[in-house]
Symmetry: none
Subunit: 135 residues, 4 copies
DNA sequence: GTGGTCTAGACCACG
DNA sequence: GTGGTCTAGACCACA
């Protein structure tokens, strides 16, 4: 329900999805949007676990996936850092967007909606809030 | 892998999602696209389970959700039928589309992509196949 | 120390490496060598855990990596199966071999040994047992 | 990323392996290849730690292992020196090479590849750069 | 201090 | 029955 800030990161956790997935998605989002800077130190596993009132293992699982995505890197004994490679972030963002778009277009197709239909619908209903990079 | 036909319905099942969900989605899609006609008889739970080589419980769960959606109705002693109400189908289609779109726009927002970005991206990459059998 | 058989799989577990890695390596090896057949059912997580006297979570972690490798697939409520795709196994084997070889050649290079040196050395010392596909 | 020189030694450090291990391996390599001469003085622990921007404890751990290997020796009040015994270096090199080779052959065996397979593969893929600065 | 592995045991979704 | 998520808490390696 309420949002929580931990360092530069913001979290909004509920019980509708696996906790580690929510962490994963929300950290990805923070990195993709540049809310947390390249090369910045992430909160430690234990710290984040405590702040979010979760078990450290749950947080660690999310951190491991982030590293597999190439979005963070671990430095032994020092902590976890956001990657410094802008390129890696960009390419990750592209890939993920493409995956989301594919799924979405499949869904629309399964309902028999064409791209023109979708455009019309969205422009009617979401004119005021089309998302995008925050100011 | 391969597609399977059962009456007017077509199924393509894999193990990446819950089986009952795949049945649900694919029947919904068949109804939305008019591949199975309004008022037509659905295969019985047993029949479909046998054809798809699944546990009848799995098929039943999908059928229950279809009925809750108002897309089908059971007639005692006769079986399950697709609703005859075009209006019901249309409104269901609208609702589902709206839900998919919301999710999609949230995802795009989480990646910092605006509606303009999305349009540009899709038109570049999917020009030839924008899907959809317009109603 | 002693080898253990679970279905078609053989395990030899010690404490010199993470347990889940040993499971992972040994299952990979069994698949690569064809000791367990394509499409065959793997022991369930709980079953294997019990046989190896480990916690199910430890086994599950290994199974998750196997799936990420594309060597196995989960079927909900049914269990875990070795992939049926020979191609996937072959390509995995190629990739892994290439990785091992790269590492090895780097090590040899760091010791100032040329490929000719290595060949000579191996042929002198390992003539009787050059490994390879078991009879 | 970038290489760093400290006296006769060259280092290339990342975060994918324990830092002390990287120092260890790279110093061993420098000695084995004769890049640093027998009897030459090593940088002091503090000096090296400072140059590599590491904790002195980390460097010390690597130095202790080098001494255990017989590749270096401490002289009280003077610092650490590379051994003057060519024989010791040679025998160390042999041992280490043998260990690497054993591991490698085990890996290949676990993938069901024979020595002939390996030779063929390497000669196809690495013909231009077989590494090595023969002694 | 950091992350990583492991155990024991609960509870859930799926078939 | 299957795998998946989560917690609590122990112990380890690295810096």
């Amino acid at each position: 329900m309420e949002e929580q800030r931990v360092g530069s990161l913001r979290f909004r956790i509920d019980f509708s999805q696996p906790l580690y997935e929510q962490i994963l998605d929300q950290v990805r989002s923070s990195i993709a949007k540049g809310e947390i800077e390249l090369g910045e130190k992430m909160p430690s596993v234990r710290e984040l676990a405590q702040q979010l009132r979760m078990n450290p293992n749950t947080v660690m699982r999310a951190y491991q996936e982030l590293e597999r995505d190439g979005l963070t890197e671990k430095r032994r004994g020092q902590g976890t850092y956001v990657t410094s490679s802008l390129e890696r972030v960009q390419s990750f963002r592209q890939d993920l967007a493409a995956r989301y778009i594919d799924t979405f277009l499949d869904q629309m197709k399964s309902l028999g909606l064409s791209w023109a239909d979708i455009q019309k619908y969205i422009e009617q209903n979401y004119d005021s809030d089309k998302g995008g990079t925050p100011s």
